[in-house]
Amino acid sequence: MLSAQSLAAIDREVAKYPADQKRSAVMGALRIALVERRETGKTPEERCLNTEVIEFVANYLQIPPVAAYEVATFYNMYDMKPVGQYKITVCTNLPCALSGGVNAAAYISKKLGIAIGETSADGKYTLLEGECMGACGDAPVLLVNNHKMCSFMTPEAIDKKLAELN
């Protein structure tokens, strides 16, 4: 189900932990699986995780499937549903919410014309609500495609960011 390269990468993750604690490598393994699918998938459905992939990863690590499923559904970096080219995750946890996080999400939602959890019709943007990113002092914060963290996202900063992505 996964390429030899991905499996080798997963083996590298497994090697970081004691032999009887393969379970510790589940986050890395799911990330590697997702990256491969994102790069090679032909349809939006093939570019995210699904239960078969999760089960494959679980079996590869010799852990119960539900243990991998718990992890995959806990973190919203793991895409369980198709996402657009740019996945924008806005933190709406309490400290961010007090500093305008909810407003930032609402502003993006209005600007892109999609509700939270939706993908734009052209498949370009997906807007998600995120959990604390550990940067409450920089609130409001958002994450683009899991990797690029953007701080102090006032409406002006959001406009600039979206223009950049466009």
Partner: protein
């Protein structure tokens, strides 16, 4: 030792104790949901918050280690405020459906909300709702909105069950407890999650909506299924068993019971229960009264004995019967002059009988077995034979014991196995001989058994090293070993290995009262407490050389025999078959001539002797159904009607007292056997692995509907190694034709590479397979 003060009470606790442990040791109750003494600490419900002096905020008692000089207040204003606050949060999404909730009246959340919560909530918004889940036929997860996410069920399946079948998916307010998508919970001890659930999210499917907890009376009893002897609380309403719960006994079942113990009660209320004596004449069954039926039985026994002699009568009894019943059955048989009595219907090798020196048992206490540093289990499916003991062995492995396995199939034991030898039943003796050989080599010792032709494999050497090096070791023989056609040799080899390694050895008792049956002498060669007796025929001999009359106690020979084909044929040729039974099973209706309704364990006083030789007595929890009578009473009256002396007992207690007057129970056990010739050469040929399915082991669980819907009760298929299927030109998932003796069976064939080559694994004791022959005999497999 650390000093701690809890609510002004000073005490010392060992290093590493938590505040919760310390509080329990002085009887201080701290409210909690997620904490459970047998599970790992999660500290996610936050209900056990307490005030600790010098700590800036309340701390969870279950996860806070005691430090020296700690001062804890469990009822201070700070603690109470924290607990009330947590309770308010827990109730935010909890539906107020207590009036229709099964858990109502025995709900921890309900109790603690009254004890530690506020009288009203400030939360006005909409509550979240969670879709119900399907966890299979035993555990209902219909109302998951009630879940408070304590994760006890998750931790149970992972830590006690051995495989995490339940998980918590999603995050924060979207969290849901669920089995893996599309899967059910198939653990053989899954029912315990119902007890663990502190709210009404996980409830018992068979029990749901049948009655209220406060309408039930609680009565103590003992499980009639496996040899562990789990202690039960049987809950009763209007003379009907409504449900079964565990009774905590740390030395035996801890606080758990297997699903078989918990849900088999459905079989007690089965429509198949025999309620009136029945006699067959002119090929038709007629209900009758006890007087007529007993007179018929007496006439039958006297008639056969007059025409053909006493030796023409055979008594076949069940290891699921009580000690008192088995004692009276053997007493009746012997007083009447019949020596043909046996309880070992599923055994095939009796050649150790003459060499036997005492009643066979586990050889140690259960606690000693699980504390052994090295354990060798020979011929046992473990999880399907002894579900709860298998979980205890799993805990033993976690605590550092090495589990070694010699078996006929590479079953998933859900635990780490130190070394294993998986061989065909024909090579089982050879496998054990390999271990003996390796032990002899390590110890540079001599063995009385000729091992010249045996070569110890690497795995055998690993097993031997593990047994020799461990400071305490135990070897136990499971059902497969006991039913094996070379059981005597396996026992002899085990004894030799044990003698050289200092290990304890014994049998994992197949049934609730196998050990009791040994004790009371429901055996052809030994009477009660090993008293000498004129030798009679064993169970196999009574079938191989058919008798004119059979007296069946609690036995359905088509399910309980090593070779159902031969057993049923023997019954059919007999002039009379007298059956004392709780059920009018299809088999009995076919071959029996008179059926006397006897009480199952729930309707009679009695006792079971568990595998460790502990006699546990119990009383009936309900009145006998219809005209059913306790079997000890029936046997006593039969003794009177046959004009035999010594049948004056007025209660089961009197029967027990008479038995126990023979001596102390512990003194009767001895697994040592004398000389048995051993042929360590592995045999060749295609052989059947015919185990008894988990829920076909005894008459009660065969009729428990919910158990019969589980994955473990699925219709048997024939499994064989893919190389064998290829050689026979058979396809995986297609039909094959099996032949044993005069029996043929078309059955689905599945490839299973965990089996040794040249074996076909097909369950016995199932309606589908009753036409086939011996459990571990040769078998033919061809295209169907």
């Amino acid at each position: 030792m650390l000093e701690i003060e809890i609510d002004g009470k000073k005490l010392t606790v060992p290093q590493g104790s938590t505040v919760m442990d310390a509080a329990h040791s002085v009887g201080t109750y701290i409210p909690h949901f997620c904490y459970h003494k047998k599970l790992s600490i999660a500290a996610n419900c936050r209900m056990c918050l307490v005030e600790v002096e010098k700590a800036p905020k309340p701390l969870p008692a279950c996860a806070t280690p005691v430090t020296d000089g700690m001062k804890v207040h469990t009822h201070s204003d700070m603690a109470k405020k924290a607990q009330a606050g947590v309770m308010e949060f827990l109730l935010i999404n909890h539906p107020l459906d207590c009036p229709i909730c099964d858990q109502g009246g025995e709900c921890q959340l309900q109790d603690l909300a009254v004890g530690y919560g506020n009288s009203s909530s400030r939360y006005q918004e909409e509550k979240r709702s969670v879709v119900g889940k399907d966890m299979g036929p035993l555990v209902s997860a219909e109302e998951m909105s009630r879940c408070i996410h304590c994760t006890r069920c998750v931790r149970f399946t992972e830590e006690i069950g051995g495989f995490q079948e339940i998980g918590m998916a999603n995050r924060s307010e979207f969290s849901e407890i669920m089995p893996y998508l599309g899967k059910t919970v198939n653990s053989e001890i899954s029912g315990n999650v119902i007890d663990l659930c502190p709210v009404g999210a996980l409830t018992s499917k068979p029990f749901r909506y049948s009655t209220r907890a406060w309408e039930l009376s609680r009565r103590k009893s003992v499980s009639p299924h496996d040899g562990l002897g789990s202690n039960l609380i049987v809950q009763v309403k209007a003379n009907e068993v409504m449900r079964v719960l565990p009774l905590e006994n740390e030395a035996i079942n801890e606080c758990w019971i297997a699903d078989r113990d918990r849900f088999s009660y459905e079989g007690l209320n089965s429509a198949e229960r025999l309620q009136k004596p029945m006699i067959k004449f002119d090929g038709k069954w007629h209900e009758t009264d006890w007087e007529t039926a007993l007179a018929y039985v007496v006439k039958g026994l006297n008639g056969v004995s007059a025409d053909h002699g006493k030796d023409a009568i055979g008594f076949l009894t069940s290891p699921h019967s009580t000690t008192e019943e088995l004692y009276l059955a053997q007493k009746l048989a012997r007083a009447f002059g019949v020596n043909n009595i046996d309880y070992r219907l599923r055994r095939s090798d009796f050649s150790a009988d003459a060499a036997q020196q005492g009643a066979q048992w586990l050889g140690s206490s259960i606690a000693e077995l699980t504390a052994a540093k090295s354990i060798l289990v020979v011929g046992s499916t473990q999880r399907k034979e002894q579900p709860l003991l298998a979980s205890q062995l799993r805990q033993a492995v976690k605590k550092g014991s090495a589990l070694n396995v010699i078996h006929v199939a590479d079953d998933a034991l859900l635990t780490a196995v130190n070394a294993k030898l998986i061989v065909s039943p024909l090579a089982l003796v050879n496998a054990l001989a390999q271990v003996l050989k390796a032990v002899v080599e390590i110890k540079s010792a001599q063995s009385t058994i000729d091992l010249a032709a045996v070569a110890a494999s690497e795995e055998a050497q690993a097993i031997a090293a593990s047994l020799v090096e461990a400071e305490s070791a135990a070897i136990v023989l499971g059902n497969v070993a006991q039913h094996h056609p070379a059981f005597a040799q396996l026992l002899k080899l085990t004894q030799e290995i044990a003698a050289l390694t200092g290990a304890r050895f014994g049998l994992l008792a197949e049934a609730a009262n196998s050990t009791g049956a040994e004790l009371v002498g429901a055996l052809p060669h030994r009477a009660a407490f090993g008293a000498n007796t004129a030798a009679g025929l064993n169970a196999a001999a009574m079938i191989a050389a058919p008798r004119k009359a059979y007296f069946l106690l609690n036995t359905e020979v088509e399910f309980d025999s090593y070779n159902p084909q031969a057993a049923v044929a023997a019954m059919k040729q007999a002039a009379t078959v007298i059956a004392l039974t709780a059920y009018k099973g299809a088999g009995l209706l076919d071959y029996a001539d008179v059926l006397l309704p006897i009480a199952p364990f729930s309707e009679t006083a009695g006792s079971f002797v568990n595998m460790e030789g502990k006699l546990q007595s119990f009383n009936g929890v309900v009145r006998p159904l219809g005209e059913t009578r306790p079997a000890w009473k029936v046997l006593r009256v039969l003794g009177n009607m046959l004009n035999l002396s010594g049948f004056e007992h007025n209660s089961a207690e009197e029967v027990r007292a008479e038995l126990l007057a023979h001596g102390a129970v512990e003194s009767a056990f001895n697994n040592a056997i004398g000389d048995v010739p051993v042929n360590a050469e592995a045999g060749a040929g295609l052989v059947r692995i015919g185990e008894v399915p988990l829920y076909q082991a005894d008459a009660i669980c065969r009729r428990a509907q919910s158990l019969q819907q589980t994955a473990d009760a699925a219709v048997p298929v024939a499994r064989a190694h893919s190389s064998l299927l290829a050689r026979l030109n058979l396809a995986d998932g297609k039909q094959g034709l099996l032949r044993q003796g005069t029996g043929e069976l078309k059955v689905l064939v599945e490839a299973d590479d965990s089996l040794p080559a040249d074996t076909v694994r097909l369950a016995t004791a199932h309606p589908l397979t009753v036409g086939l022959g011996g459990m571990f005999d040769s078998i033919e497999l061809t295209q169907g």
